[in-house]
Structures are given as structure tokens and as C-alpha cells.
């Protein structure tokens, strides 16, 4: 099986965001993360393409992303004061969408910084 090698991969585990990691991956998992620190290695090597988790859960019941998205939209839209919180372990692109959603919802957008 051929390995994908990503040079200059970025480790998004801690605030150092080191971007000189050489990641070796097969189809299924990351097998090496050169130059990563002990925390970074653990993080890179801890993920696989396996489906460990259901696509989505609604009230504990497994369901499709489509349905979960609809339910989420209903719940959030119905609220008078919804909260969009977290945004640490997501990309800036996702953060941008999250802020736009909070704005559309008329809610609060907040991150770990407020802790």
C-alpha cells in the first residue's frame, strides 16, 4: 500500500501550530508524524478514517446528517437566545461560518477565550 506523504503539514493541536510536520499516511491512518512533538504525534496518530461514530444522533437515535441538520436548524431557530460556542478546534473557514450562523440566529457567538 502506498503512503501519502504530506510535507509541511500543520499540527493544530496546540497554539504553536507547528507547520513543519512530515506526515505519512496510508488510506486508513496516519503512521508517522516526523518533527512533531510528543503531543503532536499522539494527536496525528490518534486518527483514522474509520467510522467509529454514527454520522449523526438526534435524541440518541442514529440518523442522517441531513435530518440532524434540519433538527438542529429547527431547535436553534426557535430559540430566543441561542449560543454558538467553542470554535477552538475548527478551521477559520468554519469559524467564519459559525459567526455568520450566530448572526443569522440572533444569538451569541463565543469562544474559549471568554473562559
Amino acid at each position: 500500500m502506498s503512503l501519502t506523504i504530506v510535507d509541511n503539514a500543520t499540527c493544530a493541536f496546540c497554539g504553536c501550530v507547528c507547520d513543519d510536520i512530515e506526515v505519512h499516511a496510508d488510506e486508513h491512518k496516519i503512521v508517522a508524524a516526523k518533527r512533531a512533538c510528543i503531543l503532536g504525534k499522539a494527536w496525528f496518530l490518534n486518527h483514522t478514517t474509520d467510522k467509529h461514530y454514527p454520522d449523526a444522533l438526534v435524541d440518541g437515535r442514529e440518523t442522517t446528517v441531513d435530518e440532524a441538520v434540519q433538527v438542529a436548524a429547527d431547535l436553534l431557530d426557535r430559540a430566543d437566545m441561542p449560543l454558538v460556542y467553542g470554535m477552538s478546534n475548527i478551521t477559520c473557514e468554519a469559524q467564519r461560518e459559525a459567526v455568520a450562523l450566530a448572526e443569522r440566529l440572533g444569538g451569541v457567538a463565543d469562544s474559549h477565550t471568554s473562559l
Binding site: 500543520t10 507547520d19 455568520a100 448572526e103
Partner: protein
């Protein structure tokens, strides 16, 4: 398709001075004629090409740093409330990205040039530019304190320096090259400055500010960048700095340059108490040397926040004012300082600054070479441009504004003796046609066939500030975006770039240096093309 009929058209690029004629639009461009198009009846109205801002600070690490520093200002400004058309935001001294687009378009400006981008955080700048709706955007990359370049200049390797600059422009997806306080920011990294043009920069033996300026200007010309070197001189804001400014211009020896915010560089006197306007001297020099363009960097009284890559100046300002201070040095490249500031008519220095900006605009006789800016947000916020237009067009209004100033202040300025009043034609030149030409954007700043259909239509109004503050219609790329103060549409603007050719081998030279000097991987340094919204790569030109 759109036809604007019956308006008085001001199109200085074609010598059209208030002639009533139709303007036709198709597919986002001005065309000769359109059939059966919707019509705007502009009878009794004034038609201008969309405004072009040659020098502003609206996106990137510095302005975003300033946003976090000034929540009190966000609170006191009128907010943008989300609608089906527009995003929420706040205006004020450092408007949010969405608000920036709405505010610019709201007064008829359709192209802006972000004047200060470090390569290292250029991705960030472009992320923000993407979120500034409606207007088209270009940006200038900061190179006059780039240590890799300074090293090359020290070694006299001009050709390699040129290749590096070409690479850096494309890496940062910039449109032009900006020099800020050449050598001074590099020295600031150790708390020092570069005050003498011909003395070596701290840490170097041969490189002087003068050499950096001349070298970069030469490189920009050699590369054929459509916009000349965008130059923020040494000793910004310092009494007596006229000498430095004139020396810098002489040192350019006929090369092209755009002298940014000259207002901050036209002072006489020895210290703050003797500071005076030397605008006439500088204007004379500008009038006699056609290789330069400039923008005013005009000051208006009131609150603002000063943001500049000129770190040493900002530390001085912090010490002078005792206000908040932000500083962000960028490895090997540049820095940035942020200090909130209030310009007061009762403050002698501020009164002189206010006059100098207007004096330059009034004394430089060719409106094609001096443009309206406030160096937003440094001199004032860009959304106050209509106030400056009023000051330029109405001598009596200027006199009224000076009525309250002290004799001491009046003795330091020349404005009371200047009678010139701008015409609408000249206003169209300094706000649109001129800056478009200086930026080298052939489809901007005019209403000729083939131009981008960026058009602004004003109701005629004796109150000049009101007229320019509230256009009747603003059309961007053929689409009505503002009508009677309402935001009608918020299309994405384009990203304007240049791609000067460079030797691919230069990466092999840069890579090891980069690994020594920087903390980011070389391969992650360049801005990916996908980050540029609606990119448009503009042609380089023959500057011979």
C-alpha cells in the same frame, strides 16, 4: 443592462466636464449603447466614475489588532443591522469588514487599495479583503524593512533583489510594493529608528534608507509594476521632516514613486512648539517633478486610531498621549503600531496638520497627481471624505473652520491665503480618475467604453458634504448596490493582483535563508490563489 440618462457627466479621463450625456452599461462594463435597457433618469443629477482610494488601511493584522483595542468606539458608532441583504457590523474608526464595504460603497467608492501588507500574514489580509463586499481591492506588500532584501542590497545584489521582490509580490498576492519608514522599522526591532537618509541602518554597514528607497523604486520600475513604489518616507510626523521628504524625492532621481500621505511629511520647525507647515515648498517640488504622485493623508478633527507600520513613531505617540498602545512586530519584514488619537483644533500641532493636508491638495496644481485620502484611519476615517471635499470646494467653509483657531496656529499655516476652490471636475479627478491612473488600473476611474461600470450618481445639492455623503445611486460592476442610502445588493468585489515574472530558481535561493530566519515553512508562506476572491491579474507595463 442599464442606461443612465440625462445626468451631468464628469469624466476627467475623457475631458468630459459636466456634459449631459447618457451612460450605458452592459455585462458590468461601460458600452457605447444598449437596447431596451432599464433606465435611471439622472436628470438634474451628477454622474461620476466610482471613487478609487489609493491608500487606506482596511484589512489585515494591524487593523484587526486595532479593532480589538477599541470596543468603546464600536459601541458609540451607528451599527449596521443585519438584513436580508447585508451582514451585521459596526462602523467607526475601524469598521468591521462588511461595514467597510458598505461604508465605501455608500459614498460611491468602488475600488480600494490596502496599503500595508506583510507577506507573513498576507493570508490574513486576503481573508479579510474577501469579507469586504462590493468594492474591488488591491494591496501593497511591505518590503522596505524586509531583512532578506536588505541583506541583498547590503551585498549589492540588485538583480537577485529584483527576482526576490517579484517572487514576494506574487507570494503575497499583492498589487504593488510599499515602503514604510525604510530601515526604520528594522531598527525599531531594537527600539531604534532610522532618521538620517544617508546613515547605515542599525545592523548594516552599507544599507541606508536612501539606498533602500532608490533600490526598491528601481526594482518596481524594472518589473513594470502598474503602480509605482508606494512610499511612506522616514521621519513621519516629525517637525522639520520636510528636509527628509525632499531629500528622499531628490534621491529618487527621476524614478516613479507614489508619495503616501504627504501631509505627515511636510513640516518645518525644530520641535513640537515650533512646528509649522511647509506645504508650499513641498507643493512647489511636486509641481516641478512629474515623476511623483501623492495622496493627501489629510487630517480632520476628531477621534481616530492611528495605525502604521512605523513602530517607532507609534511608541513616541504612545508616550506623548498616554493612551492605549498596540505594537506587533512581524519577523524579518515589518512592524505595526496602534495608538488611538484625537485631533483637536485647539492643539497647535493638530491645527497645523489639518491645514497641511488641505494646503497640499490646494497648492499642488495638477489634480492628476494629488489624491484625496486621509490615510484611513490615521488622519481621519475614510467615511469622512465628503467633509474634505467640502473644504476643498468652499473657501468660505474653510475660513469658518479656521475662525476659532489661535493666531499662533494661523501664523504657522498658509491656508488662510489660499483662494482656490475645487471644481466638480477636479473633485472627480482627485477621487477617481487620478488615483485609478496612479494605480495603473485602465478600467477604473473613467466612464469610457470598456471601463468597469462603477458609477456614482449624486443629487445636486449646495451642501457639498451632504451631496457626496449620500449618493442617489451607486453602481458597481453594472449592478445598483446603493439607492438612496439603502444597501440594495452586496456583490463580491474582485481581487486585483500583478504577477511580475521571476526566475523560478529564486526559490532555491530563498528556501534555506527562509528556514534560518523564519518560523514558518517556506512552502506555507505564499498565499494560495484560492484565497483571492474573483482574482484579476493585471498586466505589467513598460516603464521605459
Amino acid at each position: 443592462m442599464l442606461r443612465i440618462v440625462g445626468g451631468q457627466v464628469y469624466d476627467p479621463a475623457h475631458g468630459i466636464d459636466g456634459v449631459v450625456q447618457d451612460v450605458c452599461i452592459q455585462d458590468g462594463r461601460i458600452v457605447e449603447n444598449v437596447d431596451a435597457a432599464p433606465t435611471i433618469d439622472a436628470s438634474g443629477m451628477i454622474v461620476f466614475p466610482g471613487g478609487v482610494d489609493v491608500h487606506t488601511h482596511v484589512a489585515g493584522g494591524s487593523i484587526n489588532f486595532a479593532r480589538a483595542m477599541t470596543p468603546e468606539d464600536h459601541r458609540r458608532t451607528t451599527a449596521f443591522i443585519r438584513s436580508q441583504t447585508n451582514r451585521a457590523g459596526v462602523g467607526g474608526m475601524t469598521p468591521t469588514t462588511f461595514a467597510t464595504g458598505y461604508l465605501y460603497a455608500g459614498m460611491g467608492w468602488t475600488t480600494v487599495n490596502e496599503a500595508a501588507v506583510p507577506i507573513l500574514s498576507a493570508k490574513h489580509t486576503h481573508e479579510e479583503l474577501r469579507d469586504i463586499p462590493i468594492v474591488d481591492k488591491s494591496c501593497c506588500v511591505l518590503l522596505a524593512n524586509n531583512e532578506i532584501l536588505l541583506d541583498l542590497l547590503e551585498a549589492g545584489e540588485m538583480e537577485r533583489a529584483r527576482e526576490v521582490v517579484a517572487w514576494q509580490i506574487w507570494a503575497s498576492k499583492a498589487y504593488g510594493v510599499k515602503a514604510v519608514n525604510p530601515g526604520g522599522v528594522a531598527a525599531w526591532k531594537y527600539g531604534k529608528n532610522a532618521e538620517q537618509l544617508s546613515e547605515p541602518v542599525d545592523g548594516y554597514h552599507k544599507v541606508t534608507p536612501a539606498k533602500i528607497v532608490a533600490g526598491l523604486a528601481q526594482i518596481v520600475d524594472d518589473l513594470g509594476l502598474p503602480h509605482p513604489l508606494h512610499l511612506h518616507c522616514n521621519n513621519l510626523g516629525v517637525p522639520g521632516n520636510l528636509t527628509t521628504t525632499l531629500e528622499t524625492m531628490q534621491n529618487l532621481d527621476g524614478r516613479r514613486a507614489h508619495m503616501a500621505h504627504l501631509q505627515y511629511h511636510a513640516y518645518g520647525g525644530d520641535d513640537w512648539s515650533t512646528m509649522r507647515s511647509e506645504a508650499p515648498q513641498l507643493a512647489d517640488y511636486m509641481n516641478a517633478h512629474r515623476n511623483f504622485t501623492t495622496d493627501a493623508g489629510a487630517v480632520l478633527f476628531g477621534d481616530t486610531v492611528t495605525i502604521t507600520a512605523d513602530g517607532p513613531w507609534q511608541h513616541l505617540l504612545y508616550k506623548l498621549t498616554g493612551r492605549k498602545w498596540g505594537n506587533l512586530d512581524v519577523e524579518n519584514e515589518t512592524g505595526c503600531g496602534i495608538v488611538p488619537y484625537t485631533y483637536r483644533p485647539t492643539n497647535l500641532v493638530n491645527a497645523v496638520q489639518w491645514a497641511v493636508g488641505l494646503e497640499l491638495l490646494l497648492l499642488i496644481d495638477d489634480p492628476w497627481r494629488v489624491f484625496l485620502t486621509t490615510d484611513h484611519p490615521n488622519g481621519a476615517c475614510f467615511w469622512r471624505y465628503p467633509e474634505i471635499i467640502q473644504l476643498l470646494m468652499c473657501r468660505d467653509f474653510r475660513r469658518d473652520c479656521m475662525a476659532g483657531q489661535s493666531d499662533k496656529a494661523l501664523s504657522r499655516i498658509h491656508l488662510p491665503d489660499i483662494d482656490r476652490e475645487y471644481t466638480l471636475y477636479e473633485i472627480a479627478t482627485i477621487t477617481s480618475a487620478g488615483p485609478a491612473r496612479a494605480l495603473g488600473l485602465p478600467r477604473k476611474g473613467h466612464l469610457g467604453v470598456g471601463a468597469d461600470a462603477d458609477v456614482v450618481i449624486y443629487d445636486q445639492d449646495d451642501d457639498v458634504a451632504r451631496m457626496f455623503g449620500h449618493p442617489r445611486y451607486v453602481i458597481k460592476g453594472g449592478e445598483i448596490v446603493i439607492e438612496d442610502g439603502d444597501i440594495r445588493a452586496t456583490p463580491e468585489g474582485r481581487g486585483l493582483l500583478v504577477r511580475p515574472p521571476h526566475d523560478e530558481q529564486i526559490e532555491a535561493f530563498l528556501r534555506p535563508l527562509f528556514e534560518d530566519y523564519y518560523t514558518m515553512s517556506f512552502d506555507n508562506y505564499s498565499v494560495e490563489m484560492e484565497r483571492i476572491q474573483q482574482p484579476e491579474i493585471c498586466d505589467c507595463i513598460d516603464t521605459e
